[in-house]
C-alpha cells in the first residue's frame, strides 16, 4: 500500500486483516429490514413536560387563545401559529394517560413504557427499535443529541439495558456549539494514516502470543466491532452525516440556530444517512418544567422554538422525500396542571396530556382523543404509552406484541400498556 492511497482505499484493500477478519464478513451481516412504511424515528424530546392546554389542547383555563388551523374544526393555542398553518401534516393525540409524577420516573416511563423497578432495568424504545431494525450504512443507528451534561441519570433511561451496549444511543455533544465535534467519530489530525498502520503493526506483535493461547468469543466480538469502527472512522459519509457545515445558512436558520433547532437538523441528517432512532433533546435542563411563570415561559421561550423547529423539521423532511419513511414524535414526559399555582406556574400532570406526530405511516390530520373542558382528565379514547408505541412499531413493521425475555426470565412487553396488558395500535393514527 502506498501513502497516496486514500483511507477508503486502505479500508477496502483489506488492511483489516491484521485483526484476523475481513470486511466482507462484516458486511455480510445484512441488517433486518422492517416491513413498515417508516424506517426511522426522530423523537423531538420536550424535556420537562409542555403544558397541554397552552399548546395542542387549548382550554378556557389557558391564558392563551385558541386559533384555527389548516384542519377544519381543529384548534391549537395561539402560541403555535406555524404549526396551525401546517396542522394537516400532523396528527395530534389529546388523551395521553401515563404514570410517573416526577421527571425521573415519568421520563423512564414514557421512554421505556415501564414504571421504574429497582429489580431490573428496561430497554428504551429507541434501543428496541434499533435492535429490531438493525443498522444501515455504517451510521450509528441510535443517537441522542445533545448529551445531558448533568450526570448520567437521564441518559440511562435512553439506554438498551439488557439488550446490550450495541443498542445504547451514541450520545453526542451540542451541535449548536461552535466547537462541535463528535467524540470518537473521527481520528484526531495528529493520527496520520501512517500512524494507523504503525499501530496495527505493533498490535500484531503485542497481541500475537496471548491470542494464540486464548481464543474467546469476546475477542471475536471485539474484532467485529473494531472492523465496524474502522469502517465508520474511514467512511466519509459517516463523518459527513454529523457535519452540519454541509447545510445552508437558510436551512440552519429555518431550524433555529440554538441547540433545539440544530439538534433536530442533525437528527434529519442522521436519518437521511441511515440512523434508526434519533432523540433530539435540545430542550435542556427540564426547560418545559414551568413551575413558575408558565405563561411567560411558554410564550417567550418555549413555544416559539417548538413551533419553529417542529414545522421546519417536518417541512424539510417532506421536501427531501423523507417524511414518508421518517416518523416524528414531539412529546415530553407529561403535561402540566390545568390550574395555575401560586408562582404563576403549572405543575406536573401525567393524567392527561397531548403530543404531536407526523410522517412515516402516521395519518395526516388525525386528532385523537379528548379531555374534559379544563384538561384534567381524558374523556375520550385513552391512549397509553403501550398504544403509542404499538402504533410506532406498526409503522416500522415491528411486531408490537413481541415480548423480550429479561435476564431473570421475565417476559417484557415492548409495547407495555397500563395494567400489564399489551398496547394496541391507535387505528385513527395510521395512514
Amino acid at each position: 500500500m502506498t501513502n497516496k492511497a486514500s483511507r477508503r482505499n486502505f479500508l477496502e484493500a483489506g488492511s483489516l486483516g491484521f485483526l484476523g477478519l475481513s470486511l466482507a464478513s462484516y458486511l455480510k451481516a445484512a441488517p433486518a429490514v422492517g416491513k413498515g412504511k417508516a424506517n426511522s424515528v426522530i423523537l423531538f424530546w420536550l424535556e420537562g413536560g409542555p403544558s397541554h392546554i397552552d399548546t395542542w389542547d387549548p382550554k378556557r383555563n389557558s391564558n392563551f387563545k385558541p386559533i384555527s388551523t389548516s384542519l377544519p374544526g381543529f384548534q391549537v393555542s395561539e402560541l403555535l401559529p406555524k404549526f396551525a398553518k401546517n396542522a394537516h401534516k400532523f396528527s395530534v393525540v389529546r388523551s395521553m394517560h401515563t404514570r410517573g409524577n416526577d421527571h425521573p420516573q415519568a421520563t423512564h416511563y414514557v421512554i421505556t413504557g415501564h414504571e421504574v423497578n429497582p429489580a431490573m432495568q428496561f430497554p428504551s424504545v429507541g434501543s428496541i427499535i434499533t435492535k429490531e431494525l438493525g443498522a444501515r450504512n455504517a451510521v450509528p443507528p441510535h443517537v441522542l443529541v445533545p448529551n445531558w451534561d448533568r450526570g448520567r441519570q437521564y441518559e440511562d433511561y435512553f439506554r438498551a439495558a439488557y439488550l446490550g451496549g450495541d443498542y445504547d444511543p451514541m450520545c453526542i455533544p451540542d451541535p449548536a456549539k461552535p466547537d462541535f465535534q463528535v467524540t470518537d467519530l473521527s481520528l484526531p489530525k495528529s493520527v496520520s494514516q501512517a500512524a494507523v498502520e504503525g499501530r496495527s503493526a505493533f498490535l500484531k506483535v503485542v497481541d500475537k502470543q496471548y491470542r494464540a493461547m486464548n481464543k474467546t468469543a469476546e475477542h471475536a466480538n471485539l474484532d467485529a466491532f473494531t472492523a465496524q469502527a474502522w469502517k465508520m472512522l474511514l467512511t466519509p459519509e459517516v463523518r459527513s452525516a454529523f457535519d452540519l457545515s454541509g447545510e445552508s445558512d437558510k436551512t440552519k436558520d429555518r431550524y433555529g440556530r440554538d441547540s433545539i433547532g440544530q439538534s433536530c437538523l442533525l437528527a434529519r441528517r442522521l436519518v437521511e444517512a441511515g440512523s434508526r432512532f434519533v432523540t433530539a433533546a435540545g430542550y435542556h435542563g427540564t426547560s418545559w418544567d414551568t413551575h413558575s411563570n408558565n405563561d411567560v415561559s411558554h410564550k417567550d421561550r418555549l413555544c416559539p422554538s417548538l413551533d419553529r423547529t417542529l414545522t421546519a423539521l417536518v417541512d424539510d423532511l417532506e421536501e427531501r422525500g423523507l417524511l414518508d419513511t421518517t416518523l416524528v414524535i414531539a412529546m415530553g414526559e407529561f403535561g402540566r396542571t390545568p390550574v395555575i399555582n401560586a408562582n404563576l406556574g403549572r405543575d406536573h400532570w401525567p393524567n392527561c396530556w397531548s403530543l404531536a406526530l407526523a410522517g412515516g405511516g402516521i395519518a395526516r390530520g388525525a386528532v385523537v382523543g379528548a379531555s374534559d373542558d379544563r384538561g384534567y382528565n381524558v374523556t375520550d379514547r385513552v391512549v397509553t404509552m403501550g398504544d403509542l408505541y404499538a402504533t410506532v412499531y406498526k409503522c416500522l413493521g415491528i411486531d408490537w406484541k413481541k415480548e423480550i425475555m429479561s435476564p431473570i426470565g421475565r417476559p417484557i412487553k415492548i409495547a407495555n400498556s397500563l395494567d400489564d396488558v399489551t398496547g394496541e395500535p391507535v387505528k385513527e393514527l395510521l395512514a
Binding site: 505493533f202 496471548y210 466491532f225
Partner: protein
Amino acid sequence: MMKRPALGLLCGVAAASAATLKILPFESQLTGAGASQQLVAVLTADDGTERDVTGEVSWRVTPPALAALDAARVTARADGDARITATLAGAPAASAIVHIRESAKARPVTFAREIEAILTRQGCNSSACHGGVKGRGGLKLSAGALYPKDDFHWITEGGVYQVLTNEVKGARVPRIDRAAPEQSLLLTKPTGAVAHGGGQRFDKASADYRTIAEWIRAGAPFGDDSGRQPRLTGLDVLPPSLVLQNDAQHRLVVVGKFSDGSREDLTRQVIFSSNNGDVAVVNQSGVVMAKSLGETAILIRAAGAFASAGVGVTGPALSRYPSVPRGNFVDDAAFAKLRRFQMAPSELSSDGEFVRRVSLDLTGTLPPAARVREFAQSRAPRKREQVIDALLASPEFVDYWAFRFSDLFRVAIFANGLTPKFSQKYWEWIRANIESNRPYDEVARERLSAQGYGPASRHFIPYNQIGTAQDTMAEELRVFFGRRLDCAQCHNHPYESWSQDQFWGMAAFFGRLFKVGSIVIDHPVDMDWSSKDVDAKIELLHPRTKAPVRPALLDNSAIGIPDYGNPRRELARWMTRHPYFAEAAVNRIWGYFFGRGIVDPVDDFRSTNPPTHPELLAALADDFRQNGHDLRKLMKTITMSRTYQLSNRPNETNRRDVTNYARSLPRALDAEVLLDAVAVVTGVPEIFSTAVSEAGSVGQAPVGTRAINLKDPDMYYSRFLELYGRPNRGAVPERDTKPNLGQALHMLAGATYIGRLSGPGSRLATLLAAGASDARIQEEFYLAAFARAPSADEARDFTVIMATRTQDREAALREFIWALISSREFAENH
C-alpha cells in the same frame, strides 16, 4: 467423537476384580397396595468411572413372595422386609433392602398427591402453560403444584385469576362437574374432546384419565385438610450427579421425602428436562443419554418440589492422570471433579502471571514493575503467600474493596435521593468496615437493622426518600442471600417455591414506618419507641388482599416483635445465621476471583440453577463461618489454592472447559480498573470532572484520583467508564463487560487511548529523558502492562519495526504504547 472402549477391555481382568457394584436406592419403602420402586445398578471401575449396568445384572428378591421384580422395578406383594440382590460377573454382588408395609391397603386418591402429580407430569402446570404467571386460557395453576389449595380452588370453583388483585374476573366456571364427571373440563380439555390450546395430553383409556374421573366421582375431595397429611418436603435424585462417556446412558431414580419421614418413589410422577440438550438429553423414564462433551443439569419437577442432577459428558479416560499437588481444601473439591471429568488442570502459573492476577484481584491495581522484578528474583519458598499477605494488608486493598462494596451496596447520589452528604458518610462506613476487616455478618446485621440517619442506613433517609419496603427487602435478599425474590412481589415465583405471601411477609420488616407530625420516618435511632412518641403508624398492605402484613421470616415462622420496636434486629440475626448467608457471601467473593460464581450469576441461587461444585460451596461456607466471617481470610484461602494459581495456558484436556477451573480463564477488567491501569501504564492520570451543574460550576476530583477511589462516581461523567460498563447504582448493579462498538471507536479514536501516549510526566517521556534504549523501553512497558518481559520473538519483532522508524522514533513508540494498551493481554486479567 471417539468412542471409549468398553470398560472391560480398557481395564483388563485385574481392574475388573477391583470394581464394585451397588444398587440405588440402598434402602426403600413401599407403602400401600401396588407401591413400587425403580432400582438402578451402578458399577464403579477401579479408575473411579461409573456405569449404569441395570440391564446387565441378574436381579433376585428374597424371600420371593414379598415382591415382584420387573425391569429393575420392585413392586409390593406382601408385608415384610425384602432383600434385593444384583450380580454381575467380575464384581462382588450388591444388595438393597425394601421395607414393604400395608401392601393390601389401597390408598385413596387425594388432590394434592394424585391429581397434582398428573397435572405436573402432563405439563399442565408448567410455567409455559397454566402454571404461567397469569395462567393460560382462563385457568391458573401454581407452577409445579406448589400451592395445592389454590389449584383446588381454581379447579373446583372456577374463575379467572388476576395478577394484582384477589378479585375474580368474569363468570366462575368450575373445571369439574360432580353431576356428570365425564363432562368435566378437567377431562374433556386434555383428551381433546373440547378444543384445548395445549392439544391432547392423554386419552380416555389412560390411567391418568381414570384417576381424575374416579376422583371427581368420589366428589372431588381435597383430602385431609388438617395439615396432618404428609407434605412433600424434597426430592432425592439418585445418583445426585453423573459423569458419562459420550453416547453412554444412565438411569436416574427420584425419591420423594415427606414431612412424616416416609419416602416414596416418584420417578414416574415427575418431569425430567435437560438444561442443555446438546450435551445430554433425558426421557420421561429418567434415562439420561450423553450427546456431546460438556456439562449440564437435568431438572426434575415433581408436584411441589424441584431438584436437579449434574451431568458431565467426558471424553476418553486419560491413560495416565497426572498427579497434581494440592494447595488447600479448595483444590480437593475442584480437582476431584476434574478427575471425574478426565480433565487435567493446567500447570502452575508463572510468577509474572500470578503476581499480575493476584494484584488485580486483591487490589484492582497492576503490580509496579519493581515488584514484578523483585518477585521473579525472589527465592523465598513461601513468596506467593508473602505477596498475598502484603496485598491483603495494603492500602490499595482497602481502596479496591471499598469500591467493590460501594458498588454492591449502591453508594450513589442518584439512588433513592441520597445527597453527597449522606452518600459520603455511607461510603466512609463501608470503607471503615473494610479497613478494620469487620466480620461480614456484623456488617450485614448493622446494614439490615439500620434505621434513621445512621451511615449504614442507606435506605432509610427521612422524609419522602425512604425506599419502598418491597424493593429494599428484595435488594437485601439478593445481596445477602444471593436469591432473587423480585418476581414474587406481584405473583408467586414462576419457577421457585417463593410465594407472594412469603415475599410480603419479609417486606413487612422494612415496611413499618412512623409518622411524627407530617414527617414519615423509619426510626430515628436504634431504640424502641412507645405509642406516645409517634402520631401514626404506617403498615405495609398486601397488594392482593389489601390487609396489613405482619413481618414473617422466609421460612414462614412469624417472630414476636414489639409494636414500636425495630423488627429488623431479629431479621438481621436470623438472616446472618441462615445457611444461605455464608453460601451467598463466599459465592460472591469467589465470583470476583474467577469471573464466575460456583452458582452463576452469583446472586441467582435457585433449584434450577445448581452450583457447579456443591461440595466446594459448602466447604467454603463452613470455613467462612468457622473463621468468624472474615473476608480477608476467605480471600487468602481462595488465592492460596492451586486452583486459583493455575496458568491460563490450556492443555489438550481442558481447552474447552469454562466452568471447572481447570485453568485460569481470561476476564475483562472492570471499567474502573482498566481506566486506572491505562493511567498507570502511560503515566498520564485521568482527570475526573463533575458534570456541569445547573449553576454552571465545574468540580474536579484531585489530580491523580483513581477511578476506584471516586466516592460518588455518578457525579463524574466519564465516557470511558460508560463505554466499558460502569453500572448504574440506581439498581442492584450488574456489570456488562461485553465488548461494544463504542469501545472499539473509543479505542481507535478516543481520548483515553490517543491523548495519553506521551507528554510531560508520561512514562514514555520519563524513559526518553533518561536516554533509555528501544529494548529498555519495550521491557519497561511490558513489565508495567503485562508483568512480564517480552519474549525473544516479541523483542525481535519489535526491534525489526523500530529499525525502520529511526526517523520518527518517538512517533513509533507512541504507536507501540497504543498497541500495548489496546491489546487483549492488557485489558484482561488472566
